[in-house]
């Protein structure tokens, strides 16, 4: 399928809102990539004589700290920039790992059926019965906090949805004539799966990933907020919010600024995901 076929122009041309969302997401990626260049200071640099400075646009703020400082006099802008990098990286890898393994398990279950299917479906039932957050809290508390373990835990969120989706798509796609024809021609199973099945079901999985990405950001930030995710002196959006919550009354910006970044990012991603689904999924009525 060519790019032009995958994105027919007549369906849901990008509205101004979607363009703003894409711009915001691109900005976040640029900020994450160029954190070292953008941040005025390192995120751990403290200045105890300049604690609780409000942002520059408020009374009492000054231009040295555009977004103010936190309870240790650390520059909020610098911390936010690095927090965006941490949170986006973790959510990105979390989504990718979850999508990859979920899809593989689903495709294997749909293709091989029999015992593989049974094991895969039991695993997805288990994951449904025990929400990812509880698994993640248990693991992180018992095995100690480690960035690799943390990313793996974040990736647990939603893998069962990819698995179910991929399995269903493979089962229905296998019954189509073109797959039968390829099999009749004697193609190996791996060729059928990777050359023919996967490319045809990929669009739905990509949409699922964009809809799942905000959830992954929320899981990462929730865990960091609870103190089980990224550890100080590191910084992540959830951790900043958790720290700032204690100073809501006298320095609201410490909590509100990372909260806004989380909010805009998840909002932009899910609006983008909705738009993508309308374009790629012919069963969705775009006028709704």
């Amino acid at each position: 399928m060519s790019v032009a076929e995958a994105f027919p122009a007549r369906r849901g041309a990008a509205s101004p809102v979607v363009i703003v969302c894409i711009l915001w997401l691109v900005t976040m990626v640029v900020v994450a990539a160029g954190a070292d260049l953008i941040a005025p200071t390192h995120y751990t640099t403290q200045d105890l004589t300049a604690r609780f400075r409000p942002p520059a646009f408020l009374a009492g703020g000054d231009l040295r700290h555009l977004l103010g400082t936190d309870h240790l006099g650390r520059d909020m802008l610098s911390r936010l920039v690095y927090a965006v990098r941490t949170s986006i990286l973790i959510a990105f890898f979390g989504t990718m790992i979850g999508a990859f393994f979920g899809t593989m398990i689903g495709v294997a279950a749909g293709r091989l059926r029999g015992p593989v299917d049974l094991v895969a479906m039991t695993l997805t039932d288990m994951q449904t019965a025990l929400p990812a957050m509880f698994v993640a809290i248990t693991f992180l508390a018992f095995f100690g906090n480690d960035i690799v373990l943390f990313v793996v835990m974040v990736s647990l969120d939603g893998w069962e949805r990819y698995a179910r989706l991929a399995r269903g798509l493979v089962v229905s796609e296998q019954a189509t004539d073109y797959v039968r024809a390829v099999e009749q021609l004697g193609a190996r199973s791996s060729r059928v799966v990777f050359r023919h099945l996967l490319p045809n079901i990929l669009a739905s999985l990509v949409v699922q990933a964009t809809l799942n990405f905000p959830q992954t950001i929320l899981l990462e930030t929730s865990l960091s907020f609870l103190g089980l995710g990224v550890q100080p002196p590191g910084t992540s959006l959830g951790l900043m919010l958790g720290e700032g919550r204690l100073h809501l009354l006298n320095a609201w910006w410490i909590a509100v600024l990372p909260g806004l970044v989380i909010f805009f990012t998840t909002l932009a991603m899910s609006l983008f995901g909705d738009w993508l689904r309308d374009r790629l999924d012919p069963t969705v009525d775009p006028t709704r």
Binding site: T122, M126, F134, A141, T221, S222, L228, L248, F263
Partner: protein
């Protein structure tokens, strides 16, 4: 009907059994134990402690004892909250979490369905766009942002409600946590209701009702019965989401519910409390999904209980 329920419950048993087994062994192979935090402890006292909590037995034996007690409905003593059994802790914390969860779900259903209906009836008008805008924001704004924000406005700014604490479940203390818990679910339900009601209003039997000149209220009620099916099937995931949300919300507002005990228990390697919570949650999710399926078949007679 009864045989359907029994069959579903029986088929859930292996899932719960595997969840229990995997969790049991995984948390036991984790480094550290529940008594590592005790400083300068006499080795003999430690030995006694381990014997009392049966940690001196080989692992497979502990597993067997755990299963045996579980079959008798005994979840064992808590390691961290000494002098309490896990069952006693649940007896205190479960009602708190359940009441908040039920209140949040009721609130989400009432407002979600109403808002979704209004939006569907005024499709593509100002009201519709406003409701959908708020709903999209509600889905994406995390509850640990909403919680502090509501605290800032209603507790610290306006001083209408307490900022946190439980105060034995006084009404004022429940408002903010329940609203925080309900908002995201309300938003999802509003979106689901709107989407399926728009479709239902176009159906032939609804057009007939309109042609007969029935009032809009009657027509809408008829359309809603069919349109609520997606909302009913969302109730399963909604219950799971409410439980996940309660972990954060109970921490923010300092509420002594299951979620808070769970985080404290996990951080202090309270084997039995964590196992108890794991079992509690998976049983709850499975039973709740079963109830949703039964409800669904009542609303839609085409779905048979098989």
């Amino acid at each position: 009907m009864i045989s359907f329920v029994l069959r579903r419950l029986l088929s859930a048993l292996p899932t719960i059994f595997i969840v229990v087994t995997v969790s049991f062994f995984l948390i036991r192979v984790a480094p550290g134990g529940p008594f590592d935090g005790e400083s300068h402890i006499d080795p003999r006292i430690l030995e006694n402690l381990k014997r009392v909590y049966q940690l001196d037995q080989p692992l497979w034996m502990q597993y067997w004892l755990f299963l045996k007690n579980l079959a008798h409905g005994d979840l064992g003593p808590s390691f961290f909250f000494k002098d309490f059994t896990v069952a006693q802790l649940f007896a205190v914390s479960l009602p708190v979490s359940m009441e908040n969860g039920a209140a949040a779900l009721a609130l989400a259903l009432a407002f979600g369905i109403s808002l979704g209906t209004v939006a569907a009836l005024r499709q593509n008008h100002g009201v519709d766009h406003a409701v959908m805008g708020v709903a999209t924001i509600g889905v994406t704004i995390p509850n640990f942002v909403v919680g502090p924000l509501l605290t800032l406005i209603f507790a610290l700014g306006l001083s209408w409600l307490p900022a946190g604490g439980w105060n034995n479940g006084a009404f004022a203390n429940r408002v903010l946590p329940v609203v925080t818990l309900a908002l995201p679910q309300m938003a999802v339900i509003a979106r689901l209701t709107r989407a399926s009601l728009i479709e239902a209003l176009r159906a032939n039997h609804i057009r007939t009702l309109r042609a007969l000149g029935l009032p809009t209220t009657t027509v809408t009620l008829h359309a809603l019965r069919g349109a609520l099916l997606p909302v009913v099937s969302y109730l399963g995931p909604a219950a799971a989401n409410l439980m996940t949300g309660s972990v954060v919300v109970e921490r923010i507002f300092g509420i002594p519910g299951v979620g808070r005990y769970f985080v404290d228990g996990a951080l202090s390697r309270d084997y039995t409390l964590v196992m108890g919570t794991v079992i509690l949650i998976s049983v709850f999710v499975i039973v709740f999904n079963l109830i949703v399926d039964i409800l669904y078949s009542f609303l839609d007679p085409r779905v048979r209980m098989e």
